[in-house]
């Protein structure tokens, strides 16, 4: 399928207007692209979180495809059941096609409480795509830290005060944890680079077995930026090497975008309120830059 944006925008099955996502939220961009790119309507299993809450308040639904929400930590396990049912019902002649199952959850439901369920479903080899919409915190419950929150970020559970300097720990590298399971396709993407994201969605949907996408989706109230800066903020995360765009297909690492030249990470930090307290502290910004550089070096060492 061509990835012409004009053509994609004409595809009918988008997230319906009327969802309740915040202005400047990155999640609808991701979901609309997923639904535009999917060759057939997938069955979507949604973890509890922002996306579920803003798209389905009864009796309304913004979803043009079959959609199921079970609980917070079990989207991957629930998707396992849907996928097993699809195989069983197809084998018994009760359905005529086996749709792709797509599980989608935030970083809370994926990096943290849902990690066991994700790991189990991947290990069992279910044919499904798991998408983490990563806004780097528990945004639906009021901007608390998650293990995807970067060091230094201010959240309501890592506040900044006389003794608090934001989150102390670096974030968990979930993409690498998933890769270590031996999946045939895993990738990091950003809503700012739609063509790259669309290609990765296509590849992930087309690869049999478990596949995984970790997609940076900025959160306006959580990150504290002007709503109209959504795409720019996401782009700066990539261009500063804070969020490398790469994929691992059949064990081979490939950068899918190389910032030339990379911008200093300060360019990304200074656009968001959650890092404001770092900006007057050159050492803190330096430490952050060193952390970003070390991550980049570790990733590029894996390139073949």
């Amino acid at each position: 399928m061509s990835l012409n944006l004009r053509e994609l925008s004409k595809r009918s099955q988008g997230l319906a207007p009327g969802h309740r996502a915040c202005a400047g939220c990155g999640i609808p961009v991701l979901v609309r692209l997923l639904l535009a790119v999917a060759p057939d309507p997938p069955v979507v299993v949604n973890a509890t979180g922002c996306l579920e809450v803003v798209s389905t308040i009864y009796p309304y639904s913004a979803w043009p495809v079959p959609w199921l929400h079970n609980a917070f930590e079990n989207a991957a396990a629930t998707a396992s059941g849907v996928e097993a049912a699809a195989r069983a019902l197809f084998a018994r002649g009760r359905i005529r096609r086996v749709p792709k199952v797509v599980a989608i959850g935030g970083d809370g439901g994926t990096y943290d409480i849902g990690l066991q369920s994700l790991s189990g479903a991947i290990e069992r080899g279910h044919d499904f795509l798991y998408i983490c919409y990563n806004n780097e915190g528990y945004m639906n419950t009021g901007i608390q830290r998650s293990s995807a929150t970067p060091p230094g970020a201010r959240t309501t559970t890592t506040p900044v005060g006389a003794h608090g300097r934001g989150k102390l720990e670096p974030r968990k590298d979930l993409t690498e944890i998933v890769v270590a399971h031996g999946v045939r396709y895993a990738a990091q993407a950003s809503i700012s680079h739609w063509g790259d994201l669309a290609k990765k969605l296509q590849k992930a949907l087309a690869t049999p077995g478990p596949t995984f996408l970790n997609v940076l989706t900025p959160c306006q109230p959580g990150w504290d930026y002007p709503p109209e800066d959504l795409v720019e903020i996401a782009r700066l995360a990539v261009e500063t090497r804070y969020w490398p765009l790469y994929e691992v297909a059949d064990g081979r690492y490939r950068l899918t975008f190389t910032p030339r030249p990379p911008l200093p990470v300060r360019a990304w930090l200074e656009r968001q309120g959650r890092f404001r307290h770092l900006l007057d502290d050159p050492e803190a910004v330096e430490r952050f830059q060193a952390w970003v550089d070390a991550n980049w070096d570790r990733l590029t060492a894996r390139l073949k």
Partner: protein, 395 residues
């Protein structure tokens, strides 16, 4: 009849459940092994390995994921089963409410067991009683035969009442005991359960069904209506169980009791009321005997959720004293869950029998001869508001 009953076979409770599953051949089984229900899944996996069933088996990494996968599969329109016990059922607790709230006809075998702490793998009803308000029908087997029968019956109850069903069999006492069981012909079982009447959700039916949103957020303007609808469904489930039990008995030539089994109540002055396999033990011990206060009958409930209050009131309408035997404690100081519910069911009657609640057999503690003496003596004592702990030094 000869075409319905295939043979008489020695089976443990776990074997019997697995055999029923093989005959039903559900679309999906998702489970995580836990003592003492483990062999249900082991035996079933063996059937699959031997090509005797074609179910999709999802061996999950936890009980939480097992019931989560069951919810996904059932919402997708599949006939779904699982088995668990104790801590495993406790780990499923969150999703039990989701299964019933979504009105999914999942069938679960529970080989009942104590809960930690201290760790104990033996039989009591603490696990299933912890799930009593989760909106699942709970049926309790008294024998291995009933564990088999109820496993088959549960499919029709779940799909017609549109609520999930637990089939409870006493851990080790039934799960691991070998008993002769009337086994029905595969065809007869398949004819009884029929083609799956699924959840009604058609997530997988892309042709004509249109997009379907299952499990959305519901705010105060809607949530309570869903819960009331579930309560109504549980109310109707009592009639569904009665109707399906009658159909089961007609189909298989059996005499499975509806909701409860009362024995020795004619001319009885008192009754023991309880759940599960202990009924056979106390019935044997009491047979032909009278206590100083008169004859004692035995009432055994098969249905605990929904609570068959009318049947209980009728069964106890002619006795002056009831001793309820609870194999779990509510820790409310008012007694075990069964005792509390029996008292509630009897409250407001013109001449209700006096009720004493006895907590016994926790963590597999056995009933001894002197415990049965104590039970008999209780019929002569003034009832006490709190529970009597049978077999414990200070009672």
């Amino acid at each position: 009849m000869s075409t319905v009953v295939a043979r008489r076979q020695g089976l443990t409770g776990n074997d019997a459940v697995a055999l029923a599953w093989r005959q039903i051949n559900p679309d999906v089984v998702a489970a995580y092994p836990i003592t003492p229900s483990t062999q249900v899944v082991e035996r079933f996996a063996r059937y699959l390995a031997d090509g005797e069933a074609t179910t999709e088996f999802v061996p999950t990494e936890s009980e939480h994921s097992a019931i989560s996968a069951c919810v996904g599969a059932s919402a997708a329109g599949a006939r779904v089963m699982t088995a668990t016990s104790s801590q495993g059922l406790a780990l499923m607790h969150e999703v039990l409410y989701i299964a019933s709230g979504l009105r999914l006809p999942i069938v679960m075998a529970v080989a009942t067991r104590a809960l930690s702490a201290p760790l104990n793998i033996h039989g009591d009803h603490s696990d299933v009683m912890g799930s009593r308000d989760a909106g699942w029908v709970q049926l309790y087997a008294g024998t291995v035969q009933e564990a088999y029968d109820l496993s088959i019956l549960a499919v029709r109850v779940a799909e017609r009442a549109r609520v999930p069903v637990m089939v409870c069999l006493d851990g080790f006492t039934l799960s691991h005991s070998l008993e002769p069981v009337l086994v029905y012909a595969d065809d007869a079982v398949r004819a009884f359960v029929g083609e799956a009447r699924t959840s009604g959700y058609r997530l997988l039916d892309g042709e004509g069904a249109g997009p379907l949103t299952v499990g959305p957020l519901a705010l105060p303007d809607a949530y309570m209506d869903f819960r009331r609808a579930l309560a109504n469904a549980m109310g109707r489930a009592l009639e569904v169980i009665a109707g399906e039990t009658a159909a089961f008995n007609a189909h298989f030539g059996r005499d499975l009791p509806v909701h409860l089994e009362a024995s020795g109540l004619e001319e009885a002055d008192g009754a023991l009321l309880l759940l599960g396999s202990t009924a056979d033990v106390v019935r044997e011990a009491l047979a032909g005997r009278s206590s100083a206060s008169g004859r004692i009958g035995v009432v055994r409930l098969l249905t605990f959720r929904p609570f068959p209050a009318e049947a209980v009131r009728q069964a106890l309408s002619h006795v002056a004293r009831v001793v309820v035997m609870d194999r779990a404690d509510s820790l409310s100081t008012l007694g075990g869950p069964l005792g509390i519910e029996v008292r509630a069911a009897l409250y407001g009657q013109a001449f209700p029998p006096a009720v004493t609640d006895v907590i016994y057999g926790l963590g597999g503690r056995e009933l001894r001869a002197r415990d049965l003496e104590r039970l008999r003596a209780l019929f002569q004592e003034e009832p006490v508001p709190g529970p009597v702990y049978l077999g414990v030094e200070d009672g």
